[in-house]
């Protein structure tokens, strides 16, 4: 490694752990944890709120605080997803697929333990990959154009097959419905209103947060009440909860290569500007399901279904900083606000940032690192009180969950229509769950559809004008091979193993 980079890394580390600078990441982490546990709130909102407060600060405390905001904002959303089926934000939705069934089986401690470990270690992998990529960041980021984004969207959509489980037809239908919902609102090219049915609220399109809260949190509440279930865990006795936190920690090491692949996937996806963090978790989950020798337990409380998306979701934070710092192109909403903060404090992303202000870059990176570990350690420390929440009688728990979810839905845009939307999707989500229709493909398609549609139109137009040749772009071919491998490898691999077993 270049000596300058190493010196800057060590100097940044020294600053983060020195007094009184250490107070900033601690405060930032605690605030980020509260925010991320509240549905509808995210690190972008927190950063936006903190901008006027930090306006006159020196750069170092700003980097420490905002690094902690980015790092501390993912894990707690997964905790609420695991315990109550209430995702903090879109990227936490995947954790509930297996995390919540684990909580229902009384294995909440194991789920939280595995999520905390995967989260902290995944963030570590993401950060070290980020540090390693600093010398090559610029050229990597500018190699991406509409054609590459189109292939990324298609690659993400191939995961739908894994998320649909045994009912591929229903999975594809759910994805189609997700696309339909994404088309509602103004067409980005012609500004025509599409599929609003004359309803003004739909002119801005459907927001992902109310849809998520409805499909999962509210739907689950309806299911809990309709089924007459006593508690989420099925028992009022905390002592009768199965699973230990340490089992969850050990599970991450038992599935170490899955964890590593998910972390690398998360970092790469986080590094792609404009994709958004939610996709990383879905793709990692789909990959885990497709590559598992026995994936029959996915969706029913398989710990791998928690490890993979958690590792990816936290690794993406490091990845998202790559285009932000190298090119000034935000990787997601949070990094978009971070970019604004950097600019406000006279720091220009790009060559200057990576040469003259490299120490500040590492202050940001180490603060992110510290924050991730703090949230995971705090989560693990409080695993017993958190797990105990699953033994509270549903009659007492449900109104609180509903009010918190409703607050999250309505607070996102301050529009009562979002609450009504969440309720409507809650009813839809309940019936989808009751009659065994998958919901994750719908959410994934809703998240990916804008990227897919815009990239397809741009690619076709550029191809038409002769500006690009789709098939001669190296990254496109790499992504195409990756997509084909994702689709073809799992069935071939299973068939090969069956043949070998039959031979033996």
């Amino acid at each position: 490694m270049d000596t300058t980079v190493l010196d800057a890394a060590l100097e940044g580390l020294r600053i983060v752990f020195s007094w009184p600078y250490i107070l900033y990441p601690i405060a930032g982490t605690l605030l980020a944890m509260v925010f991320s546990a509240t549905p509808g709130l995210n690190s972008a909102s927190l950063m936006a709120l903190a901008i006027p407060i930090t306006y006159g600060w020196e750069p170092i405390p700003v980097m420490l605080l905002f690094g902690a905001f980015v790092g501390g904002a993912t894990f707690m959303g997964s905790v609420t997803a695991i315990l109550f089926n209430v995702p903090g934000k879109a990227s936490n939705a995947v954790a509930l697929l297996d995390g919540y069934p684990m909580a229902q089986q009384g294995r909440a401690k194991e789920a939280i333990g595995s999520a905390a470990t995967a989260s902290a270690l995944g963030a570590t992998v993401g950060i070290f990959l980020l540090i390693g990529m600093i010398p090559v960041m610029r050229s990597a980021a500018i190699a991406l154009g509409p054609a590459e984004y189109l292939m990324i969207a298609i690659w993400g959509l191939t995961m739908l097959a894994a998320l649909a489980g045994n009912s591929l037809v229903r999975g594809l239908i759910a994805a189609g419905l997700g696309f339909q919902l994404a088309f509602i609102g103004y067409d980005p090219r012609t500004a025509e209103l599409r599929f609003t049915l004359g309803v003004d609220y739909l002119a801005d399109g459907l927001s992902l947060v109310p849809v998520l809260l409805g499909l999962f949190a509210i739907a689950e509440v309806i299911d809990l009440l309709a089924s007459g279930k006593e508690t989420i865990a099925g028992t009022r006795s905390f002592e009768r909860l199965q699973g230990r936190m340490i089992d969850g920690v050990r599970a991450v090491f038992r599935h170490f290569w899955l964890f590593m692949r998910s972390s690398v996937l998360g970092t790469i996806i986080g590094a792609i500007p404009g994709i958004g963090g939610s996709v990383a978790g879905y793709i990692a989950y789909g990959h885990a399901s497709q590559t598992a020798a026995d994936n029959s337990q996915f969706g029913k409380g398989d710990v791998r279904g928690v490890i993979a998306p958690e590792a990816a979701a936290d690794a993406k934070d490091g990845g998202a900083l790559i285009p932000t710092l190298a090119l000034g192109i935000p990787g997601g909403t949070g990094t978009a606000v971070l970019l604004g903060v950097l600019t406000l404090h006279g720091l220009t992303p790009g060559r200057e940032m990576l040469t003259d202000h490299l120490v500040l870059v590492f202050v940001l990176i180490w603060s992110l690192f510290l924050s991730n570990w703090m949230t995971s350690l705090l989560g693990v420390s409080f695993v017993n009180p958190l797990a105990r929440l699953t033994t509270i009688h549903t009659g007492r728990l449900v109104p609180v969950i509903l009010v918190v979810a409703a607050t999250g839905a309505i607070q996102y845009r301050g529009d009562w229509g979002d609450l009504a939307c969440a309720m409507a999707f809650g009813v839809l989500g309940y019936f989808m769950k009751r009659y065994h229709w998958p919901r994750i493909p719908l959410v994934m398609a809703l998240a990916l559809a804008p990227l897919f549609e815009n990239s397809l139109h741009l690619t076709l137009r550029l191809q038409e004008l002769g500006r690009i040749d789709f098939w001669s772009r190296p990254m496109v071919l790499v992504l195409l091979v990756l997509t084909l491998l994702t689709v073809l490898l799992p069935p071939f691999s299973k068939r090969w193993k069956e043949l070998r077993r039959h031979k033996n």
Partner: protein, 165 residues
Amino acid sequence: MQRIKMALQQGAWLAWVFAAGTALLLWQSLGLSPVASLIPRFVLLFTLLLLLVEIALELKPSRTPGANIAGSRSEAEPLPRRPERPAMAPQQPWRVICWIAVLPLATWLFGVIAGGALFCMAFLRWRSRESWLYSLTVALVLGLVLQVLFSWVFQAGLYQGLWTR
């Protein structure tokens, strides 16, 4: 006819609702320009085709509900429960939905904090049959926490209801 009745009871009506919605959107897409409707029409037609396949499959007598679907009901056996407190009696989903619909109504009228607290109190007292003291305490604490978090800590204004503006 018998087969249709059975299929409806097993939830086939959901596919029909999806198909009707997709057909409606497809009809709506006829009024859009070619650029705006290119991809939506393709997706809508593909989805409608799949829905027709699904409806046909559901009408087959040997159809069993989908299994191993990510995000569907967990099939784990619940742990045996101690009879400390009887479980809440299962209820018809529509009754549950009517109860839950009180929350957006209360929010629309009284705002997030007051509406949420009122809903919480009403739910705990009349649905969960908790005592007045418990219901009022939880509702007040919840309202206070929301007020402190959003209005004071986050400085984020919450939706003001019709009657509290």
